[in-house]
Subunit: 710 residues, 2 copies
């Protein structure tokens, strides 16, 4: 900040405030960080965006970067800017150019990156509406985690004081800029620009970023704009707002009913685990210890020994299993708990997918025999499959994890694996572990009974399972179904399945007619609720039907019913599907069953569509040469595999190196094994001793899914 | 431990193990601590109890205390011991005698308290079955938080080596001891002895301690033996087992449905709160900071700044309320969350009543106007009243807290106050707070909108409420309804409402008849389930009906149905009510409605009985002289009160000093105001300027409940 201070000292401007916050990686996260910050002086500030373009120049010429400084809401069209400046094919500058010119990454860029040294080397274009605005503007203080606030006038004053006789800023009125492209795109499509991700002409409440172009920003925007989530002042933690929490409630209700049928009982164990208990199982704790959060102080007193917050509850629960299980009559013991666990990840957090605290259920069961444990592992896994497929309309593939990928300390892990088509990556859905006797054996938790079938044999150590499903489910659902209008919710989990919007009311509509339409909407809600449908009428005054359509589309409500005076006259309503946009008139008579059937259709269509995409993205690969190209084309691959751990390490290594990074937010990591599917019948039978591993050429055992993954 | 070591060195005995654990205050907590301890060498150890009696002696004589060392399960009858030793009126020795003789409190006493110095001064009586037992025995190592394990032989060897020519131990076979009292009780009843709390002849699974005699031990035993709860390796934290968690599930389901009707939505905020946010409200944080648990480390890294675990979520949530509430259209905002909070109390923990982590719901709402907020405060309070009265059959009195007792940082607090007849203490049930504008004002969270009714007025700061109901509810229910057979569950919250036990099957019963009875039990379960009743048949082999009766009585199942061959012949079943023990035959025809009605009767009878007791325990007091005696007689009092804080301080002071301690586990603390009941009509109207405060004589304002409390 010293260099900043010096700049301000040179001219009579001073920031209205300076705040330090979490790292920000997009306008959305930046705004969230500031909105959450208590020291931000106003609610109504605007963000300043700073974009750097590189024009196409002769190879021998030194390019002059174009720095565009604009209000975040201003549509800045690179074609129009190029035309205005007489430059060809402006492209967003690569990261290394930013480093070279400004020693900053793109998330830290701001007008303050321009100083006496850099300003003369670039062309500076300034959004002319900044100067005249009465807004307070947020500007990165040479860091993505630090922001200063200036008036528009001060920003312009700062830039003007850098001007020389030779180099001036150019103020541009972007609203009047000719947006025709300055030049035709090259025959070979150039890499998409980030700026293209902005959806042209999108109204204020729309998502604003295209899913296919900037997937991470799209994901964040959908979550925020659909009111699913908000960022929180503790990094890596998020607020689950009612719109997403209600989905979790649907999942918990369904799953609770199912596991109770299996004889599982709910309970609650404390969130704290003593250090000694936590560290009992060596392999297990090795898997978790780098992420354990420790309480060391209460009030003003230091605790005698630090106490962990559970990252999972095996070691917290099993000392009590040892106590409670005294005889084979106490078996099976089947407990579940709904709670939150803490894994203090230092990797980039992602809402729902990787968060430091998350909600889940964890089931912990103990059996007399392995076959009983094996059976339950698969029963639970099938419930997980149904949560994804039947509730969330998200296809998954059930299978077993490789030795390398199994649960730390367990015997084997089964999983349902999902797929995110937009990124071409696999994603673990939920896992059901057989722990074997690893936790029950005498040197561990010593959980045994006398074997009733063979009393001469003495102690039999119990067979244990643990299984968990988390709020990650919600993130996967958003990524799979969402589109450029926002969230798309499967009817089974939508807290509002049908929204009814009154339409066709104009200034000329009589009060009577208006009242009639509103009443009809309310009546329709009642009718649908009686039919067991979660319906809502949007009778907000002062909003156009178009605004309401956008609002509910963004929030993903599966079905919209429009009712106007004409519809009423015909005793019908217009139905609009969120998933397909299909519009159809529906008779008001018998509407309960009609809408119920329509919601069922939407649910199954959403699943079928996602399933077709998943299926077509699994490439059967038998030659290594085809492996990485298939991944690069956003597929996962099925290979005949030897199931040797070294081979898996090798695959990761080779598939990581082989391709270039496409996007700094989703680097092309190496492929991991996703699962060995239980259903091997999709592929040609493996012939023992004949079918070879596609990676190493040794004898293959089973078809295995590999992919880049979350 | 050095003095211990020396003792062992003198004779050839050595402990089998030595473990350190949480402080223990009763045999039940001691056993729990040991059961939970990983280093205890066996599951089948027994506890040694060490009781010290003081015989009645002439005032001039020095009493010789009698030390009784016995297996915890051995019935030691003080009358019989006195008779055997020729001593009159043995009474459990007061704490100061223990300190004088052994420099130990009663929870640390053990055979090891006897040494070369103390042994000659006392008479030592030893349970003769110790020497012959093959059990391993747990013995306190001169501390209530430290235990060593010895064989019975070693314990006797230890005591024998202390013997002198003059002083020997006396081995007594308690099973053959004449239990007739040695002497008639004195005319004026002496204070009850602790040992009397043991219920004579109780079978192994019964509660074993009388509710009226040793209430704290009774409470712990009921919770453990009814399978509600287990102790946990982190002090102050408890495991909620399915039998209690299912009650919480009933409460959450009912309450969720009710608040959703009020437009409240569920959400989830992170458990972590940054230090800065937590400490924003001064009064508020002063109330909580001594109990806040701090996370300072994650994995091996120290955090840059410590992060608190929420003790409650006002300060965590309200920065976001400031962000989300932009216009009056965003009001009211009504969010609730079901979570756990942590208050690291250093006072003695008590299961459900005072625990370091507890489950609750916390509602946080914001309104445009005070009247709206006031209305909701009372709506929610009435839901809390219904949780207690309608679900748990526990009467409560709704009212407002005094200024001294209100929520830290709030405007006013309403409460439903319960009463525990056995201890004569009040207990806060749940609270609904109006926070006023204390958290919304500009120097706090700055939550405002433009007033739509008066745009010229500018900013209007929102009116906020917060309200919470915790698992404490369950503890209150146990204390109010439980009896000497164990738990008594109100039907509305019992996870098993009816248990069906096959009876009248003897060795002579034919296989066919036996099968017929079992089938009839299963059929009956189906019939009852169809009628919406939670029923279960106990068809366990190898247990007598008597054992099963005890088992389910202990667990509090509201209704038992017995079916034997004779019942079947008559097409009837015998119903036995848990609350009254009343037995009645019930026709199997139409049994669904009959049992439903019977459960309703049980529910309302339980409430009526508890209500009558509560009502009769509220003493109307207008003269200070009657105040403390009423409390000492296990009542709470209603007084005309001035509502001045200094007067409340004074009442606490005066009522604390005024009576002697009766029981070291429930010292006679001073009385606090419990609430100012909304319903003042119970008492004579207060006449302004005429009715005087019963405590200070100034003008009284309203009738106020005062009492000792939890």
């Amino acid at each position: 900040m010293d260099s900043l201070k010096k700049s301000f000292d040179a001219i009579p401007i001073a920031p209205a405030a300076h705040v330090v916050h979490a790292d920000t990686t997009s306008p959305a996260t930046w705004r969230q960080a500031l909105d959450a910050h208590p020291s931000v002086p106003t609610k109504t500030f605007e963000l300043i965006k700073t974009l750097v373009y590189k024009p196409k120049t002769a190879k021998t010429a030194t390019p002059v970067p174009v720095v565009v400084i604009a209000r975040d809401d201003t549509e800045t069209n690179s074609g129009a800017i190029g035309k205005k400046l007489g430059l060809k094919e402006l492209r967003l500058a690569p990261e290394d150019l930013l480093t070279e010119f400004f020693a900053l990454d793109k998330n830290s860029l701001s007008p303050l990156a321009l100083n006496a040294e850099t300003f003369p080397k670039v062309a500076t274009v300034v959004d002319s509406s900044i100067a005249s605005s009465s807004s307070l503007f947020a500007v990165h203080a040479l860091s993505s985690s630090s922001t200063v606030f200036f008036s528009g006038k001060d920003i312009i004053a700062y830039l003007r004081h850098l001007e020389t006789d030779a180099v001036k800023i150019q103020e541009v009125d972007f609203t009047n800029l000719d947006s025709a492209p300055a030049a035709k795109p090259a025959a070979k499509p150039a890499p998409k620009e980030k700026e293209d991700a902005k959806i042209e002409g999108a109204v204020q409440i729309a998502i604003g970023v295209k899913k296919e172009v900037d997937f991470p920003a799209w994901y964040t925007n959908v979550l925020i704009k659909a009111d699913m989530l908000d960022y929180y002042s503790v990094s890596g933690c998020y607020i689950l707002k009612p719109w997403s929490y209600s989905i979790w409630e649907e999942i918990t209700q369904w799953f609770n009913a199912e596991i109770k049928e299996l004889g599982v009982q709910n309970s609650y164990f404390p969130m704290f685990v003593s250090q000694k208990v936590l560290e009992r199982e060596k392999d297990h704790i090795e898997g978790f210890s780098p992420e354990v959060a420790w309480v060391t102080r209460a009030g003003n007193s230091d605790l005698e020994e630090p106490i962990a917050i559970r990252p999972t509850s095996e070691t917290a629960m099993y000392p009590y299993y040892a106590k409670w299980i005294k005889s084979h009559r106490d078996l099976p013991l089947k407990l579940n708990q709904w709670n939150s666990v803490v894994r203090w990840e230092f990797k980039n957090p992602q809402p729902f997918l990787r968060t430091r605290e998350f909600l889940w259920q964890e089931g912990h069961t103990a059996f007399l025999t392995k076959p009983e444990a094996d059976t339950e592992v698969r029963q639970i896994l099938d419930l997980y499959r149904r949560v994804f497929e039947d509730l969330l309309a998200v296809p998954v593939i059930p299978g077993v994890k490789s030795e390398k990928e199994k649960f730390a300390g367990g015997l084997y892990t089964t999983t349902v694996e999902g797929f995110i088509p937009t990124s071409g990556r696999g994603i673990q859905g939920a896992t059901s572990h057989c722990l074997g006797q690893n936790f029950s054996r005498p040197e561990m938790f010593n959980i045994f009974v006398e074997d009733p079938n063979d009393p001469t044999q003495g102690k039999t150590y119990v067979w244990q399972n643990s299984w968990g499903l988390s709020t990650r489910t919600i993130g996967v659902m958003v990524m799979v179904h969402g589109d450029n209008q926002g969230l798309v919710l499967p009817p089974r989990v939508a807290s509002v399945q049908v929204v009814i919007v009154p339409c066709g009311l104009t200034a000329k509509t009589t009060e009577e007619s208006r009242a009639k339409v509103n009443t009809a909407c309310e009546e329709l809600v009642k009718t649908l609720k009686k039919a067991g449908i979660r319906a809502k009428a949007d009778l907000r005054e002062g909003y156009t039907p178009g605004y309401k359509f956008n609002d509910w589309e963004q929030k993903g409500v599966p079905l919209r019913l429009e009712i106007g005076p004409n519809d009423l006259a015909k005793q019908q309503t217009l139905s609009v599907r969120r998933d397909t946009g299909a519009k159809n008139p529906v008779d008001l008579a018998n509407i309960g069953p009609t809408v119920t059937a329509l919601l069922d259709t939407i649910q199954s269509d959403m699943f079928s569509k996602a399933k077709a995409t998943y299926d077509s993205s699994i490439k059967e690969i038998t030659h290594w040469d085809d492996f990485v190209p298939a991944l690069d084309a956003k597929n996962i691959v099925a290979i005949p595999w030897c199931e040797v751990e070294e081979c898996e390490d090798d695959i990761k290594e080779r598939s990581g190196r082989a391709s270039e990074p496409q996007d700094e937010r989703a680097p092309s990591a190496g492929a991991k094994s996703l699962c060995i599917p239980f259903d091997q019948s999709r592929w040609a039978p493996i012939v023992a001793g004949q079918t070879k591993c596609a990676a190493c050429g040794k004898d293959a055992k089973r078809w295995t899914l590999y992919g880049r993954s979350y």
